[in-house]
Symmetry: C2
Subunit: 761 residues, 2 copies
């Protein structure tokens, strides 16, 4: 910390002391009427009158709270100096007017909070002036000039962003409610807030009346302002949707998602439908993160204002569970796994997660594991919940949040498949056998990704979008999201006849889900997630089993992947592995093309360059590669005449929208039934400083399928250190108590349960 920074901190602390003393004096004399706490009914959403008292009493005493407060004050003070700017709306996201209005609502919210905590009218006046500027502008606005959205807003190009504005602004209004005169409030409510809430609800039922992260924001926006204004009619609309509305069930949004197939709407429906009983949000963690802010901030406000509704107890406390689920859906660095449309790098350091963690801590029994996440976030919300967390941290109550192997069910009743996460330090395998995931879903049944100490090793591509980077299509979804990122071949899963699952049709895919077959992580030596998909290709059944085997004779655990396919027809099957890094060596000879050719015509194949190929001779093949100074190997069993394709993303990409990353594709042709068996290892390291390569080669000597029939599949794994293991799975009976016996390799193996791992030496 340099001197000017220290001076700043010292003066900030002196200022806090002044506030504390002034407030204390206030309370003692009870004569000062400029104090923001005169009316106990405001603030009441995220700050409460009692909360503000407690916060003020603790100023200067809790480092993490003071630090967040100081940072917030710094940015808001700078904004106040820059002056208020409420431009006529014009741009898409990334453009000036979009970003300006976005900043405005963020800073209004912060300024409102600062007014309450620091009791400094500068902040109240900033919010007030901004609100009146909006009140003057809003009634004059047509719908936003940019036409791309199915639900155009007024301040922004889509109602979604208008709803963001209202969710934040409601909090600011709540904070300065008592600072305003009754006339001023009436003016704002009649000319800004009510018309605003009406426009995004009754004015845009296709946006508001549905189950989707968009409508979650819409409901919460209307609900938050309803709570401040104490408008029960609006609150009912927020909670239960627009009543008696007739909507076309086949209407779709820009992403191709159905608007409202079954007539459900409102906050409760949005809470009921997309969350599974385990708290998994069907769109995936990237969108759960986005939706978690409105869900939790509104729940907090409802709890504070209408505790009789018991919102946190709804659906067996699903909101609290959802925060735990979300943290479990992050890698070792806290970054979200990429399920469905997801931008890489989003993590629990996002401000929505700071709110989520603090609110879940405050209203969910003060789970000390959440404190360790808050500690990493190194900031708290400037409200009652944040104060709780800060006090918990100060009292050193934090315990490590231990992310373990976990299966999170999907679907409102938890009956629409699941995500299976296998963890064995340093590996994490994310195996997806969920439902489609609404309009942000990908056609990637039984796909997986593998992480090594937080680094993606076998990647999920994520979305084809550069969020808020205006240069790239206004920061919106790129056309390659549909033609590439959502297609099956963009994922580490099976493609039949070069067509995506469900022919890439959302209308079909959203009717089905995969099914969990077994998820058993009770034994650290062999953790198994296994699932089946029988609808992606009519007439074809897929059964994939992923295991992490932790063999004590090796330094690191490794992954076993068995994809078993049965079909009534002869097909071509492609199984890609999107390894990240540079090929070091292959056990097979390949023919590198002098010029890449395009791999196929449609379903994402048109975006892959074929760079090299080989024909297998029936032996195992191994691809050994280096990524971020670690050595990895994938070893696969092959049949003679299997094709091996080395390809790279980037064809038919006229605007450089795609990342040119590599893949290995295993291809079987003219097959009804097929079995792909592979191991994936992280086995070694390289240091560019010492230039030492350690354990650069695979530990696997051989993998062989020794039995494969309707009843069982058995794979023998021989390590270079001469350890031999046999993995057997029962293919049709997933009763954990069933006894099995099978003769393989001249041995009779007996076991109880769905699978077993036996030492053969």
């Amino acid at each position: 910390m340099n001197l000017s920074k220290i001076c700043k901190s010292v003066s900030f602390l002196a200022m806090l002391l002044f506030v504390v003393l002034a407030c204390k004096n206030n309370e003692d004399s009870k004569t000062n009427n400029s104090n923001a706490l005169t009316d106990a009914s405001h603030p009441s959403l995220i700050l409460t009158a009692q909360g503000v008292k407690d916060i003020r009493a603790n100023l200067g005493l809790i480092p993490i709270f003071d630090k967040t407060l100081e940072e917030t004050k710094e940015v808001v003070d700078t904004e106040i100096t820059n002056g208020i700017n409420v431009p006529i709306p014009k741009d898409y996201s990334g453009g000036y007017t979009h970003e300006r209005h976005k900043k405005n609502f963020v800073f209004m919210q912060k300024a409102g909070v600062l007014y309450q905590i620091l009791n400094d009218e500068t902040y109240a006046n900033y919010v007030k002036d901004m609100l009146f500027a909006y009140k003057d502008l809003y009634p004059t606005l047509p719908v936003h000039p940019q036409p791309r959205s199915y639900a155009r807003g007024k301040l922004f190009w889509q109602c979604l962003n208008d709803s963001n504005w209202l969710v934040y602004t409601s909090q600011a209004y709540d904070c300065i409610y008592d600072f305003l005169s009754e006339t001023e409030r009436a003016d704002l409510e009649d000319n800004l807030f009510k018309p605003f809430a009406n426009f995004i609800s009754t004015g845009n039922p296709q946006f508001f009346n549905r189950v989707h992260n968009h409508s979650t924001w819409g409901s919460v926006a209307v609900g938050m302002i309803a709570l401040v204004m104490e408008d029960d009619s609006l609150l009912n609309r927020a909670l239960y949707g627009i009543k008696n509305l007739k909507m076309d069930p086949n209407m779709k949004d820009n992403d191709g998602g159905f608007i409202n197939k079954d007539g459900k709407a409102g906050f409760y429906a949005n809470l009921e439908e997309p969350f599974s009983p385990d708290g998994y949000y069907t769109e995936g963690p990237y969108y759960q993160r986005y939706a978690s802010y409105p869900f939790l901030i509104f729940a907090q406000a409802l709890q504070n204002k209408k505790s009789e509704l018991g919102v946190f107890k709804f659906k067996d406390s699903v909101l609290l569970k959802s925060v735990n689920a979300l943290i479990n859906l992050t890698d070792a660095d806290g970054e979200f796994f990429l399920l469905n449309d997801s931008q890489k790098g989003m993590s629990y350091y996002n401000s929505a997660l700071v709110s989520a963690v603090d609110i879940a801590y405050q209203f969910g029994g003060k789970n000390p594991e959440l404190l360790s996440i808050a500690e990493k976030q190194n900031k708290v919300t400037l409200d009652d919940a944040g104060l709780s967390v800060a006090l918990g941290l100060k009292a050193r109550e934090a315990k490590p949040f231990e992310k373990k192997s976990i299966e999170l069910s999907d679907g409102p009743n938890g009956k629409q498949g699941a995500v299976g996460i296998l963890r064995s330090n340093p590996l994490e395998v994310v195996f997806k056998y969920t439902s489609h995931g609404l309009s942000h879903g990908h056609f990637d049944k039984l796909s997986f990704a593998m992480f090594d100490n937080g680094d993606e090793v076998l990647q999920d591509y994520g979305l084809a979008r550069y969020v808020n980077i205006e240069q790239k299509g206004g920061g919106n979804y790129l056309k390659e999201n549909k033609t590439w990122a959502k297609q099956t071949i963009a994922h580490n899963t099976l493609v039949q006849n070069e067509k995506s699952h469900f022919s890439g049709k959302y209308g079909i895919g959203s009717k089905y889900h995969s099914n969990s077959y077994v998820f058993n992580v009770s034994n650290d030596s062999i953790q198994v997630a296994s699932a089946k998909e029988e609808n992606a290709y009519p007439g074809t059944k897929m059964h994939r089993t992923m295991a992490i085997i932790h063999d004590k004779s090796l330094g690191n655990p490794y992954v076993l992947d068995i994809m078993r396919v049965q079909s009534i027809n002869s097909n071509q099957y492609d199984l890609p592995f999107y390894y990240l890094g540079q090929i070091m060596q292959t056990s097979f000879e390949y023919n590198k093309l002098s010029q890449p050719t395009i791999l196929g015509g449609d379903y994402g194949y048109q975006h892959l360059y074929k760079e090299a190929s080989a024909v297998a001779n029936g032996d195992n093949i191994t691809l050994n590669w280096l990524n971020k100074n670690k050595f990895y190997s994938i070893t696969s069993e092959t049949d003679a005449s299997d094709q091996i394709i080395l390809a790279r993303i980037g064809a038919n990409d006229p605007e450089y929208n795609l990342r040119n990353e590599p893949t290995l594709i295993l291809r079987k042709t003219n097959a009804k039934n097929a079995l792909f068996v592979s191991t994936i290892e992280s086995h070694g390291t390289y240091s560019p400083v010492s230039e030492l390569a350690i354990n650069a080669y695979s530990n696997i000597e051989n993998i062989t399928t020794v039995y494969n029939a309707t009843d069982y599949t058995a794979v023998k794994i021989t390590l270079k250190n001469n350890t031999v293991k046999l993995f057997i799975i029962s293919n049709e009976n997933n009763d954990e108590n069933q006894q099995h016996n099978l003769e393989v390799e001249d041995q009779l193996i007996n076991w109880t349960g769905v699978f077993t791992l036996v030492n053969l030496n």
Copy 2:
């Protein structure tokens, strides 16, 4: 730190205390003859008798020294437990026998030091047993079975590694010298050390008698063992080379470098020739790092044993200057700039640099700035020099090592060009106008690279080799090093008619060097490095000027790049910019090919895929890209009909040896004279957590050449914030005191010196 780690540390400290007390007792009673310090003449290379006393007296008192000692003890103890293994030599680097022998010499050296410091005979016996195992093996060995080297060793595939062995082993021998009986010493010297030293010198004169990093290691190996054995004849051979040797001056090594064109040899010649008076090593920092260990360790030994030679004063203290030069040749993360053959990621955290920094501190007047580097390294050498550094750190004497803009001359007399480094936080520009750089040199006159806060933004490719990764060609240079990495088109500099500089011929390139024209960094607003190259293409003169302009109206500085070419013939000129990252936007429309084509037939062009192209209309073109969450732009002036090529490395790469990274190539055809003017900016940031893009676009509105003739070149730069600047450089007169005046843009500009930067508004 976990509990077991704490317990370990506690017991280590207790052990140190025991050593300190035991030694104290020793000194008091003077009766114990097992103390390693009985004979004051050993150790005497890197440890001295007095040094050992001082170290023992300070044990447990200096954290950084104790930490290094503990780490060293831990690894050596493990090795001792594993037992001694001296296999019959068989493998290339990366293979088992190579790595085992390498470990052996490293651990012998460490064990010798531990014996001296901890006075524990376990370590002496380990070294002794290992030495006798080598003594039994060595005389039985033929030359190494692997045939690739021009100078095959016996323990290793090349004499270079045998020399490494002897440099380290000499230190171990010195440490246990007095522990051995006279008979044992005679046995080792007669049957191991002398034959070993002879084999790598008189037995391989093509390796030993030259000026090259190989022969530096050879001379030092012979010199180190000579010092221990007090063998003056061997010492003279080490210092001055093999006398009266006739060698073919046209002989070349495996890298195509001349073995010995001018008959120079020995340690002093190796010190005299490759180092410039500024301490720049002509092979570049990657090899300087490699050579710095033998240079400095031997200088330290010579100083301790033969202080009358005054080795550190040689050539105006060039060895000490070289350490400063080397640190200045690192980026913000301490990683070496990539000049000539260099592997990315090598840094001053390498153990050779720990030695270099500690020795330079000890013998170079205890420069407190070196302490700050030692502090980052967080380890010290376990010898007298390391103790000095540890004591300096303990006394809090460290001062920041401030890397500034600097020009480092090349050539024995500093007259063979230079490297110009321009720094303006966060940018660093490395501009190369040196001599060829011996056999590791690249054909890249007037090339440059740009770094942003330690991240390479416009890259130098470096070498085509995966050092010590056996899977990749035994860890040795790959053929693509010659066909790609050394070629001109692989660098950010001018290529004429798709041929490399000097036709890619080392014999020609090594005769010439570029010349510094002006290097002036006295004004933070405009720092300039300018240089000329007139031999790379006969009949063509190249003059490149690189400037960092720090305009206070912008957040960040930007780079101005002017490449001026004059030829007597009509040529095609290509100027590539190897940007790293993903294209966000271009100001020009390009035609992306449906399938990449190969850009050319030879000189590295055969390794480039052409992906897209455009024809310029005479306006500026801008390429805007994103790398590691920062936004960059390159803006270039074009002539109508200039071609713009977007290409990617990777063609004709049958074994995936190359990295598939992109480049922008500006091409002018049918031109005698040409002028390329560009700006390069780091202007914005992106956060995947907040999803905010800040300053995503270039700040440059326009760049225009307003004057270009024999005498001057003038470029007008207009920023989007309406600032207008004019940069003028005198092309023929580089007298810093010359007065100039020029009428441009209807203004008469007067200035003194080679260039000026004028505000036009």
